[in-house]
Symmetry: C2
Subunit: 131 residues, 2 copies
DNA sequence: TAAATACCTATTGACATAGTAGGTAAATAA
DNA sequence: TTATTTACCTACTATGTCAATAGGTATTTA
């Protein structure tokens, strides 16, 4: 399951791409267009700035902006940054996770194959594919 | 993310398939082999019985048993019964979910495509593929 | 009658999710 | 300078899910 963090982040990116006019776009406008709580979006958008996905500028005339061309963003990157991991099971999501049953695990190969499938799907989609 | 409900259910099914000898297999043995809390497994296995995936029998000599041939079980069916849904977002998982933004949603087609991908992957795998 | 088993109800601690509340800092325009 | 607009910051909260644990009852066989 993809949480609101990843889903809302994606919608913010799309909104920024569609409404790009060279200047910064206030979160108030994004929240209104997307019908998402502005207060809650603040948290998510802050993380997007920290992750280097977008630019933020304070003060009057401030807001947010993409820092790359829309076709240079990959959906998988955005989702993975916001969700932490897209892996279906803990033993693949946590690189440090040590499972004593690993060698004997009958299901691991399936999770690994599925993990690759998911990764390839979302890394094969660009932001521009959603516009 | 697939929770322990789905993952453990799959391991129970594999264990039942591998240790099938015509009679019922006590949960105690499954829990020991799989190194999973028996008390916790009770909850999961009870749901598997209610869902019609396996048979349970009380009393001495009782335990659990597959009620179909291993090749007649599909992984997707087992996971979906235990996890409730494999859909990545609420608007696809809940059939009754009414989203006012549905028609305008830029991301929905991607979630739908991904949902189909996930469904096809797990419904293309049989229990016997894991043995 | 004793043992082994499934089955039942209730509870718990930890954590994540999806927010809300209220403030501070920074930039611009009057 | 001052007011306004904006991002940014810390803290809090209600609800729910996850992964169990605890202790009992019903059922079947030897």
């Amino acid at each position: 399951m993809i949480s609101t963090r990843g889903r809302y982040a994606l919608r913010v990116m799309i909104d920024l791409a569609e409404n790009n006019n060279g200047s910064y776009i206030p979160l108030k406008d994004i929240a209104a267009r997307q019908e998402i709580s502005k207060k809650y979006l603040e948290i998510i958008v802050k993380d997007m700035v920290n992750a280097g996905l977008i630019l933020g500028a304070s003060g009057k005339g401030g807001g947010y902006q993409l820092c790359r061309k829309p076709e240079e963003y990959v959906v998988g990157e955005i989702l993975e940054l916001m969700e932490g991991s897209l892996s279906p099971v803990a033993c693949l999501a946590d690189k440090s996770y040590e499972c004593t049953r690993r060698a004997a695990c009958k299901t691991l190969p399936m999770w690994e194959e599925f993990d690759t499938l998911v990764h390839n799907y979302f890394y094969g989609k660009k932001l521009t594919d959603l516009l």
